[in-house]
């Protein structure tokens, strides 16, 4: 098949040992659950075992050679990530355990902040109806604890944000606007600029959930003009247990810490403590060292292929998948139906066949998809569906895997027909 823009997946797939895995009596796994988590290349697996086999040690604490090497590798991972997202300073990169923790951290910073950042009664928080639960619940908690009002943007029938009332949703009372850059359920890429412009007009902080963006497209935090950007390592070829919160330096200096403990302090007495400068102020306790180093290796890997190239590849695959899926009888895409301003996660329903049953029959053919509400239940409610089946692609996905999915769906229809 000749599709300009595709990566050399034959070569890339050799880096991912798991893609050769056979399941269910010898069927090659067709992994289309990348929005849930990505597979890991050999380079990342090696970085993890290298750390544990050669220089495992706690960071920032020892004077011995292992501790120095571990600290250097951990901090060098921070440098790599800062460069990957074009952060003005490495000290703006906070390691967390995942995107959920990153978002909870921001919500708590703002809940305990002094003026002018403090979220409190009489102020407003704005999110959207297409958020992952990780970008809903922390704000609901903040709203319940402070009395601030939680508001959100609704969705259009086409699966995009309805910004027609933006001036009423984001107002002088808004303290923070938090939204997803690429939806994990609809695939929608959201118009950052319009939202940031309005937020800046009213002096609200902007938080971007880039969990589904960082793995798939160039991410430039300066171009976004956001104040905070959250993402998670395991969806971008890194290990689980590591996430990132990027924040603007002056904010990180002004805002209070959330978790207290070792590593985040300057001095401690029984009466009070002073804190280390950011990012350490926000990294209490022994961090996920191996995982940070693994994420460093992952961004090296992604950068070596090129995020522009990965985005182009996925754009082609997504376009092809949308076209092929459109030919499946009774299949309805939930989300934008063309590849414009769209990521590589495609949700759909298949007639009356419940997604659970779709997923089960696909699994039997070795095809791994995700079924359910994808931690974005309000989206399912909005479109009046209990759940969806979601296929999501990545840099190693091939057109023939799309074909396998389409054939698999025909099989599903025959089975329940």
């Amino acid at each position: 098949m000749n599709m300009p823009g595709l990566l050399d997946t034959e070569a890339i797939r050799k880096d991912f040992p798991i893609l050769d895995r056979l399941v269910h009596d010898g069927k090659k796994v067709v992994y289309l659950d990348n929005a849930a988590t990505s597979q890991k290349p050999r380079q990342v697996l090696d970085a993890l075992s290298d750390y544990y086999e050669r220089y495992n040690s706690n960071v920032h604490r020892g004077v011995h050679v292992l501790a120095e090497e571990a600290t250097a590798a951990y901090e060098s991972a921070r440098d790599k990530i800062a460069e990957f997202i074009n952060a003005p300073s490495r000290d703006e990169v906070i390691f967390t355990k995942n995107a959920s923790e990153s978002l909870n951290l921001v919500a708590n910073m703002l809940g305990f902040a002094d003026e002018p950042y403090r979220v409190e009664r009489g102020t407003e928080i704005v999110i959207t109806e297409m958020e992952h639960h990780s970008n809903i619940v922390p704000w609901q908690l903040l709203s319940q604890r402070t009395g601030a009002k939680l508001k959100w943007f609704g969705l259009t029938d086409e699966g995009r944000l309805d910004l027609s009332t933006i001036d009423e949703v984001i107002t002088e009372k808004t303290k923070v606007v938090s939204f997803v850059l690429v939806s994990n359920i609809l695939g929608t890429v959201n118009p950052v600029e319009a939202i940031v412009r309005r937020a800046q007009e009213v002096g609200a902080l902007v938080v971007v959930d880039a969990s589904q963006a960082a793995p798939h497209m160039p991410l430039d935090v300066q171009a976004l003009q956001a104040d905070f950007v959250a993402f998670t390592g395991h969806k971008m070829c890194g290990p689980t247990g590591i996430g990132v919160l990027w924040g603007r330096q002056e904010l990180l200096e002004d805002l209070p810490p959330f978790l207290g403990g070792g590593e985040m302090i300057e001095t401690v007495s029984m009466h009070s403590s002073t804190y280390a400068p950011a990012p350490h102020k926000f990294e209490a306790g022994t961090p996920p060292i191996a995982q940070a180093i693994g994420l460093g290796a992952a961004v090296d890997y992604l950068a070596s292929i090129g995020m522009e190239n990965i985005a182009a590849h996925e754009h082609v695959i997504t376009g092809y998948a949308l076209e092929r899926l459109a030919s499946v009888p009774d299949l309805r895409i939930v989300g934008p139906v063309t590849a414009e301003d769209r990521g590589a996660a495609i949700s759909f329903t298949l007639g009356d066949i419940h997604p659970h049953d779709v997923g089960q029959v696909l699994d039997e053919q070795g095809i791994a998809v995700r079924v359910g509400h994808h931690c974005a239940r309000p989206v399912c409610l909005r479109y009046g569906i209990p759940a969806t089946t979601r296929a999501s692609f990545y840099l190693y996905s091939t057109p023939s895997e799309v074909d396998a999915l389409v054939e698999g769906l025909e099989h599903v229809q025959n089975f329940f027909g």
């Binding site: 269910h24 419940h354 997604p355 659970h356 049953d357 089960q360 509400h373 239940r377 759940a387 089975f415």
Partner: protein, 153 residues
């Protein structure tokens, strides 16, 4: 093929032609969901003394959860509570067996069509689907009995 062990003909039949579906009069109503996948059921029980006169339900979910509710309706309506509880416990045991229980005649005597779910017990992700309506029934019955107690108290 392994799939056929999960999707027994009996299960697909109940799924396509559910028995007793729809909400009718009841003494208690509960709404249960399976948060990992979005299956939902609203279920009502109607008791006359210690006899179950109706279990009515409405919901959305996969073939396994829907068929299981239909089988439950078949099995429990008309039974005495004590007997129904035994059926429920046996079904729970079967579903938690991880495929290790091969239903025998004695079990089939009690569970009837519900023995078809034995294959589902091998799939941890689907066991919850099969149990959704049964847990809802247990909850609704407890509620109906508790309400009755407070009324007579």
């Amino acid at each position: 093929m392994k799939l056929d062990s999960m999707y027994q003909e009996v299960i697909l039949d109940h799924y396509k032609h559910p028995h007793g579906r729809g909400l009718r009069d009841g003494d208690a109503e509960v709404h249960h969901t399976n948060p990992t996948c979005g299956d939902e059921i609203t279920l009502r029980v109607k008791l006359n003394g210690s006899t179950i006169t109706d279990v009515s339900y409405e919901g959305q979910g996969c073939s396994i959860s829907q068929a299981s509710a239909s089988v439950l309706n078949d099995l429990l309506v008309g039974k005495e509570l004590a007997e129904a509880q035994k059926v429920q416990e046996l079904f729970l045991e079967l579903m938690q067996s991880k495929g290790k229980i091969e239903p025998d005649d004695a079990m089939e005597e009690v569970l009837e069509d519900a023995v078809a779910f034995a294959g589902v017990s091998k799939y941890p992700a689907r066991v919850k689907c099969a149990l959704l309506s049964w847990m809802a029934w247990k909850d609704a019955t407890a509620q109906a009995l508790a309400d009755r107690e407070t009324e007579t108290a």
